[in-house]
Every structure is written in structure tokens, then in C-alpha cells.
């Protein structure tokens, strides 16, 4: 009873039959083995599962795999290009914007999207912009710094 879907994941075309109820996050993790995308809740609050879908941050626990048919997905594994980290990845490393790292893939992808729409956000805009992503380790202080560093680097 699988439904055939075709989508692009990190630049590669993927064709697969999936159960209609399969969540995109489980498709990425369990079917494709892309375990960089995390699961932190069952009420779409935490943002650990955030990926880019056609360039926009979505919580992949709120999307069915079949709904992703025809789309282009970027997960954390696909963010670095040609062995070079994305400026947001660099900035998180530089600013110590992560501790346990569990929120980090989702956080980084949310920030990529945020900086896309707000290239030079204020501190308040950054904090509001991260509303959908929870971090229990950092107190957000260094995540905010990381976003500022990334914004600066990307603006150059």
C-alpha cells in the first residue's frame, strides 16, 4: 500500500514508496538514514526536526513524507558545500553556540532561513525568530551571538 514519492534530498533525487502516515522526519531518519535531523517532541514545539523544504524552514515532524513529494529538502547533512561549512555552521562553532548538539541541526537550519528573510536582524528579532526552536543547554546567549556572527559574515 505504499505511495510512490519522488523528491530531492540534499541535491539527490530520491524515489521511494512510503506508507501514507509516515512522517517526513521518520522518512529522512529511518528510511534514508539521514539521522542528523532530530526528534525532540511530539507536539511540534521543539524545532529539533527542522529542515529546509524548498528553501524554507519546516518542522519535519509536522509534514508527511507524501506531502514532500516533488519538493527539495535540505537537511543538516546537506548544508556544507564542497567540504566547506555554511557560515551559520561556522558561526555556531566559533561562538560556542552549542553544547549537547541535539537542538543544533534544527537551530542552524532555522537560522539559515531567518537570515534569508532578515539579513541583519536586531537581537530582539533574532530571539523572536528562534521562537520555534528550543535549546535547553545554552540559555541561547551564544546562539544569539552565533546568529550575529553569521549575519555579519554573510553580509560581507
Amino acid at each position: 500500500m505504499g505511495v510512490p514519492i519522488q523528491l530531492e534530498v540534499n541535491g539527490q533525487t530520491v524515489r521511494q514508496e512510503v506508507e501514507p502516515r509516515l512522517l517526513l522526519v521518520h522518512f529522512l531518519r529511518d528510511v534514508l538514514g539521514l539521522t542528523g535531523t532530530k526528534i525532540g517532541c511530539d507536539t511540534s514545539q521543539c524545532g529539533a526536526c527542522t529542515v529546509l523544504m524548498d528553501g524554507h524552514a519546516v518542522k519535519s515532524c509536522t509534514v508527511l513524507a507524501v506531502q514532500a513529494d516533488g519538493s527539495s529538502i535540505t537537511t543538516i547533512e546537506g548544508l556544507a558545500q564542497d567540504g566547506k561549512y555554511h557560515p551559520v555552521q561556522e558561526a555556531f562553532w566559533e561562538a560556542h553556540g552549542l553544547q549537547c548538539g541535539y537542538c543544533t541541526p534544527g537551530m542552524i537550519l532555522s537560522v539559515v532561513d531567518l537570515l534569508e528573510s532578515h539579513p541583519s536582524p536586531s537581537e530582539a528579532e533574532i530571539r523572536e525568530g528562534l521562537e520555534g526552536n528550543l535549546c535547553r543547554c545554552t540559555g541561547y546567549h551564544n546562539i544569539v551571538r552565533a546568529v550575529q556572527i553569521a549575519a555579519e559574515a554573510m553580509g560581507k
Partner: protein, 787 residues
């Protein structure tokens, strides 16, 4: 990034973490990321009732579902003949220790109590099958509130404790304290609630058990802060396999904050399932399950009093606390509201008389155990609230009252009236630095001015102390621990001079791979890049006690430094032999050995190491190879301290509290990596602010967890918090080789009290003397409007 001046300068240097590349690229593997060939998935059926009798369980419909491999209940555990209970690891003289079966037998005692486990070919089927299990429950009366649970006639959680009293415990001098109170000019008396908290590590708990029937060996990958403790307890109590047949591995672990210390039923259940099926079985908690089953924190109801004389000198402190244990005794639960709480009630102050009585109480709720700070935030809130209230009664500035009562710098070591000996401290220095940063006098002027305009600003202080770096083993043994608290390290120099270090600490976000390598690079004078750190695998590492209680740097790091120094001692002997000199004449500097006065004829550590392994030409009687093991047992706790200051503005119309500034001056001794230390403080502050303003687990009358999801329980978001202003003073620990203390819990221990004090300060014009956390807008509004 700077490495300071050579490898020795690396200790103290703010280098970027080496663990980050795998984390920012999604390559790190956490437990739920692991897949083994033939792996099946488990889901656990949990009680929907806080208290009920199980009349009957029918698993037939679940078993009939396609893809379901097995369903196990308490009966299967019993028939298998394994011990099947999880133990408590800290005993008190009066403690009642009812059994905690891994699957509930005929009674469930909290919402979330495990009743059955389904194993299926995939996750979805396993969860579907839960709904097909029919359990015939007979609901019974339940009690969730710690005070109601000890009222006469309250429903008993366990037959062994008909009055729900798990233990009573006291510390200090009751009569002396009562007498001291009679001399008081003022007595502050407050009813203080330390609200129940849910830890919320972002990675839910998970376990992947792989039992090999051919060898009889169980490999268990799990979310743990202390793999060896899990192995020990699994062997002794829950599963009963011999210890050498169990291997526990901590893959990447996504935060713990205490919640991954304890031995839960879940890892025993999946291990049992794997043993029965001979297949790897993985279980991962949903967030709903973590809310119901991760051991909660705090949940104290306290009556606290402080007596002062006419000059503002503290005469005595008297505390009576009811502390919830929940439905069962979690691993270290009895220690938290006793030895980690009552012993901290002297704060930073020279207090001549203290008495504390604690009643541990069973309730039909999730078990309560160590959560970041564990006992010490509770004590800090009590003491720091009392100090503020005393200042108010005496008409004194709260800063001045603190100053008058600090243990002065020349009084260390200082014996408190509640067992601890503070080894060092300079409380006034941290306070002064914090006052300067907030410009205290200026703030008071602004506050007055604002009040005239109908705006309510408040400032709150928390001049805190903590005892961490757990702990001298003989001492904790006397206090009831069924565990040692030393730490192990192996420093192995390879023939090429590269180094691998095996540590009994087990990090889960703290950056040990970076800081421990900094320690070793500094000790051995080798490049930082040449040092590898291995943790979190019982097969690779000698016994260790893991990471909690801010012990990794102070105890784990000290073990590493001790082992590294032993390596240098041995290498020195070999170098002396090679250089044909007396050992006493050998100088070791920047990774090189040379005869005093001839630095140009040096042997590097790598050269010496190669000779140590070739063993062609070693000093007589010296064994080959170059490695050392240390089992470091600390001489005392370590005592970080500092001053945290919160500035808030309260909107009298809505009751909304805005945290405007947060200043933290901490003294955590010598700092290995400032970047990581600051990060630990930030995260700690956020959790303490969470307790103060946002977080609180709420149960209804019948024991349902009302705050059962992230929708109802407010884990702080980025915009709930300000940027933090951090600074330090440095008072090195006098009794460990690195002069380090601990930093993991300091922020949490200090911050709740600072924020609550700030809100009360803001509301003084309304006659408010106390508010219990979480200080929500609703509570504030009611306090202002006298509702």
C-alpha cells in the same frame, strides 16, 4: 584561535570545541540514530491512572497484529527469574525502601508507571499495538500533593509506608537554634515552595539493547551520564547478568541535567526484551513519556525562619521541609533533599545555629531525583529569600546585611554548623565586582525615580555557595551512598608520542573532549591535537562514576592530571637513563627532558615513549610501556560561589515580569576554557530563571500531570531571556591538583533566588513580602491587587 604561549598556555585558553564539527554537520550518533541488523522496536504501555489495581491484562489482540513480535508483562519478568527491580542507591537510617518492579505487577502508582512492553518490527506498529493491549484497572484514590500525602487518611502509595513518610532526617542543633531565636531582634518567617520541575533534556531518553545468546553478553547503548553505574545496577538489581557480561555504551548524549543519571525501568525492560528475543531492541521515549517518566526535580514545601540581632547579624536558621519522592525511590533521590540540601543552609554566611528537618514523602507522581543543582538551588532559594526578608524587617539594605554576615576571607577553612568545611572563599570580592557591574547606587536612584512614575523596577541578589565535585568516597559512604565518588583516568602515551586518555567521566554536552585534552596537553607538554579523549564505554574504561554534581573537572580532571603526572614521573626515569644522568637532575619542560643546564641535549616525550615501548634499554627493574592509571578520590567537596544579580521590571497592570538584566560573577576556581565555562553558566542561569518565572509541573487532584507536554510546560524560549553579563573572580581550589572547582550547576543554583528576590523587591511598594516560583503574571497580578 590562540593557543597561548606554547602548550602550557593551553590550560585556560578559550579554544573552540573539538566536538563541534560532528555536531554541526549532523554526523554525531545519538542512541536513537543507531540501527543494528535485525533490530526491533519497543514501545512501553504506561498507566493512565495515578493509582489503580491491575485486575487483568489481555495482550492477545496486540500479539495478533502483523509485525508484533512479543508483548511482555510483569508475569514474563517473574517467569524469567531475573531480579526485575530497580534499586535505590542512597540509604538513610529511617528510609523505607519498597520495591520498584521494572513492570508493574498488580498496582500502578503514577501516571506513566510501566505496565507492558510491545516489541515489533517497526516503530509505528509497536505504538499501534499499545492501543490493542487491554488492561482492566480498578482506579484507586491517589494523592499528588506533598503536604496532603502526609495528612491522616491520605491514600498510601506503599504498604511499607502507610503514612507516606519515606524518611525523616535532620541536621544541626535543634535546641541551640531554638535558644538563639529567643535572642532575636527580628525573625523572618516564610513559607517557601520549590516548584516541581521537568528536566527537559532535548534528547529524549532511549536505549538499544543487543543481547547475544551465543555469548551471553548484553550490549546496551543508552542515554546515560554514567555508564558504569548503569552497568552495576543492572547487574546487581534489575537484570542480574554478571557485570562482565554487560557492556554499557553512551553514544552522543543530548543533555542530561541529572535526568540521565538514574537507573530507570526502561533500559531494563528493553534489555529483558532483547534477552527474550535474541534480537537488538530499541526504545526511544516520546516527549510525553519523558514528561511522565524522567525523574522530576525539586518539589519542596518549606517553612523557613531566620533570626537576626539588632545589628543585622544572623543568629540562627530553622527549616522544616517536606520533599516529594514521587511514587518510587529513584536512584539517588534520598540524598537530594538531605545531604545536598540541609548541608547548604549556611549559605555564604557565618551562622552560629542551624537546624533543618526534612520529611521525604511518597506521592502518586513521577519519581523525583537530582535535577541540575539538586538540593542546592532549593537551599539557596530558602537562604537568600530569608536574608532579603530579614533585611526588610531590620530596615537594612539587603547587600549590607549580606556583607555583615559573610564568612570573612581569613576564616577559611570554615566549619559550618551543617557538616561542611568550606575550603576557601572570598565572597565580598565577587559581590563588589557584581555591584560595580550593575552600578548599584545608581540603580536604586533609578528605581526610586521610576516608582514615582508608576513603574516598578526590582533588583535581586543571590550571594550563593555550592558544594560540588562529589565527593570523598568514605564521607559519602558514611552518609548512605551505595557508590564511591572517586574518578578514574588512564593516560596512555603511544610509541609515537600521541596520547589517548580514558576517563570515567561521561560528558553529554560539557565539552570534555576539549577541556580534558587541554589538561593533558598542558601536563605533558604535547600538542593539543595529539591528545584523544575516550569516555562513555564500560568496555574501554576502568570503572568510573560519571558526570553529574559538577564533578567532571574537579574529580575527573584531577584524575587525568594525576595520571599524566605519573606518566611524566616514569618518563623521567627513562630519560635519565638515556641521558646517563641522575633522575633528580632531569628537568621536564614543554614536553622535553634534559639534564639541568643542558637544554640542547633534550629527549622529547615521543622519543622517551618509543624507548619505553621498544624496551631495549630501560633502567633496571622498570616495566616497559608508558601509561598510567589514577583513581582519584577527592579530599573534600569543592565550593564555587559568587554573586548573581537580576534586574526586573514588573508591569502592575498585567503582572508581567520582564527580566531586564542579569549579571553573574562566579568563582569556579581556575578556568580550563573560558568559552566553555561561560557557556555552562549561561545554560545554568536559563534553567534557574525557568524555575523562577516559567516552569512548574502541575498535577490535578487525581494525580494527572496537567503540564504533560511542551505546550503546557514552559521551557524558556530565546525571547524569554536577556543576554547574560558574566564575569569571574578566581579563588583556586586548595586541595586538587588543578585548582579547579565545578561550573555545571552554579548558574542554576544561584539564579532562581536572584530573580525571585528581584520580583519581590519590585513589589515592595505593594507590601509583598514573598512569592513562590514560578512567579507568573497571574501570581504577580494577584499579589498586587490583593486577590
Amino acid at each position: 584561535m590562540t593557543h597561548g604561549n606554547g602548550t602550557r598556555g593551553i590550560f585556560g585558553s578559550a579554544i573552540k570545541r573539538r566536538e563541534d564539527p560532528k555536531l554541526i554537520t549532523g554526523r554525531a550518533k545519538y542512541t536513537d540514530d543507531l540501527q543494528l541488523p535485525g533490530m526491533a522496536y519497543a514501545a512501553i504501555l504506561r498507566s493512565p491512572f495515578a493509582h489503580a489495581r491491575i485486575r487483568h491484562i489481555d495482550t492477545s489482540q496486540a500479539l495478533a497484529l502483523e509485525g508484533v513480535l512479543a508483548v511482555f508483562t510483569a508475569q514474563d519478568v517473574e517467569e524469567a527469574g531475573i531480579p526485575g527491580v530497580v534499586p535505590v542507591g542512597w540509604l538513610l537510617p529511617t528510609l523505607k525502601t519498597p520495591a520498584h518492579p521494572i513492570l508493574a505487577k498488580d498496582r500502578v502508582r503514577y501516571v506513566g508507571d510501566a505496565v507492558a512492553v510491545v516489541v515489533a518490527e517497526d516503530r509505528y506498529t509497536a505504538h499501534d499495538a499499545l492501543e490493542a493491549i487491554q488492561v482492566d484497572y480498578e482506579p484507586l484514590a491517589a494523592v499528588a500533593d506533598v503536604r496532603q500525602a502526609v495528612e491522616p487518611g491520605a491514600p498510601a502509595v506503599h504498604e511499607e509506608a502507610p503514612d507516606n513518610v519515606a524518611f525523616t532526617w535532620e541536621i544541626g542543633d535543634r535546641e541551640g537554634t531554638d535558644t538563639a531565636f529567643q535572642q532575636a531582634a527580628h525573625v523572618a518567617k516564610l513559607d517557601i515552595v520549590n516548584n516541581r520541575l521537568i528536566p527537559n533534556a532535548m534528547e529524549p531518553r532511549a536505549a538499544l539493547a543487543d543481547f547475544d545468546p551465543a555469548t551471553g553478553e548484553l550490549t546496551l547503548y543508552m542515554t546515560t551520564q554514567n555508564p558504569h553505574i548503569h552497568r552495576l545496577l543492572m547487574s546487581l538489581a534489575s537484570i542480574g547478568l554478571p557485570e562482565h557480561k554487560i557492556r554499557v555504551v553512551a553514544p552522543e548524549v543530548g543533555g542530561g541535567f541529572g535526568s540521565k543519571i538514574h537507573h530507570y525501568v526502561d533500559e531494563a525492560i528493553v534489555s529483558f526484551a532483547s534477552m527474550k528475543l535474541g534480537r537488538p531492541v530499541k526504545w526511544t521515549a516520546t516527549r510525553t513519556e519523558t514528561y511522565q517518566t524522567d525523574a522530576h526535580g525539586r518539589d519542596h514545601v518549606t517553612t523557613a525562619e531566620m533570626a537576626i540581632d539588632g545589628e543585622g547579624k544572623i543568629l540562627g536558621v530553622r527549616v522544616n521541609t517536606y520533599a516529594a519522592m514521587g511514587a518510587y525511590l529513584s536512584t539517588f533521590a534520598p540524598a537530594v533533599p538531605t545531604y545536598l540540601y540541609g548541608t547548604l543552609l549556611s549559605g555564604e554566611y557565618d551562622i552560629p545555629h542551624i537546624y533543618c528537618h526534612v520529611t521525604g514523602v511518597f506521592t502518586h507522581t513521577t519519581p523525583v531525583d537530582a535535577y541540575r543543582g539538586a538540593g542546592r538551588p532549593e537551599a539557596t532559594l530558602v537562604i537568600e529569600r530569608l536574608v532579603d526578608e530579614c533585611a526588610h524587617l531590620a530596615g537594612m539594605d539587603p547587600v549590607e546585611l549580606r556583607r555583615r554576615n559573610f564568612v570573612p576571607p581569613d576564616k577559611f577553612p570554615y566549619q559550618t554548623q551543617v557538616a561542611l568545611v568550606y575550603d576557601s572563599g572570598n565572597y565580598e570580592a565577587a559581590l563588589e565586582k557584581a555591584l560595580e557591574k550593575v552600578d548599584y547606587q545608581q540603580f536604586r536612584r533609578e528605581q526610586e525615580e521610576a516608582r514615582r512614575q508608576g513603574r516598578y523596577l526590582g533588583i535581586g541578589f543571590s550571594t550563593y555557595i555550592e558544594a560540588c565535585g562529589l565527593a570523598p568516597s568514605a564521607l559519602v559512604g558514611q552518609l548512605g551512598a551505595q557508590a564511591g565518588q572517586w574518578e578514574s583516568a588512564v593516560v596512555r602515551v603511544h610509541p609515537t608520542g600521541k596520547v589517548t586518555v580514558y576517563s570515567g567521566s561521561s560528558g553529554h554536552g560539557q565539552g570534555h573532549e576539549t577541556t580534558f585534552a587541554q589538561i593533558v596537553a598542558a601536563e605533558l607538554g604535547v600538542p593539543y591535537e595529539d591528545v584523544e579523549i575516550v569516555e562513555g564505554d564500560t568496555e574501554a574504561i576502568p570503572h568510573g562514576w560519571g558526570t553529574y554534581g559538577s564533578r567532571s573537572a574537579a574529580v575527573g580532571g584531577s584524575a587525568i592530571a594525576t595520571a599524566a603526572r605519573r606518566v611524566v614521573d616514569k618518563a623521567k626515569k627513562i630519560a635519565a637513563h638515556l641521558l646517563e644522568a641522575a633522575e633528580e637532575d632531569i628537568v621536564f619542560e614543554d614536553g622535553k627532558f634534559y639534564v639541568k643546564g643542558s637544554p640542547d641535549q633534550a629527549k622529547t616525550l615521543a622519543e622517551v615513549s618509543l624507548q619505553a615501548y621498544l624496551a631495549h634499554n630501560l633502567p633496571k627493574g622498570l616495566e616497559p610501556a608508558l601509561e598510567a592509571t589514577a583513581f582519584y578520590d577527592p579530599a573534600n567537596f569543592v565550593f564555587p560561589f559568587g554573586t548573581h544579580v537580576a534586574i526586573v521590571e514588573v508591569d502592575p497592570e498585567t503582572g508581567q515580569v520582564e527580566l531586564k538584566r542579569y549579571v553573574a560573577v562566579d568563582d569556579v576556581g581556575n578556568v580550563i576554557n573560558p568559552l566553555i565555562v561561560d557557556g555552562q553558566i549561561h545554560g545554568g542561569i536559563a534553567q534557574g530563571v525557568g524555575q523562577a518565572l516559567y516552569e512548574g509541573a502541575v498535577y490535578d487532584e487525581s494525580g494527572n500531570l496537567v503540564t504533560g507536554t511542551m505546550l503546557d510546560y514552559a521551557v524558556p524560549k530565546a525571547h524569554f531571556l536577556p543576554a547574560f553579563e558574566t564575569d569571574r573572580t578566581v579563588t583556586p581550589c586548595p586541595h586538587n591538583p588543578l585548582g579547579v572547582k565545578g561550573v555545571g550547576e552554579a548558574g542554576t543554583i544561584a539564579s532562581t533566588a536572584a530573580v525571585v528576590n528581584a520580583v519581590v523587591d519590585a513589589l515592595r511598594p505593594f507590601g509583598v513580602t514573598h512569592l513562590n516560583p514560578p512567579v507568573t503574571a497571574e501570581k504577580v497580578w494577584k499579589a498586587i491587587h490583593g486577590a
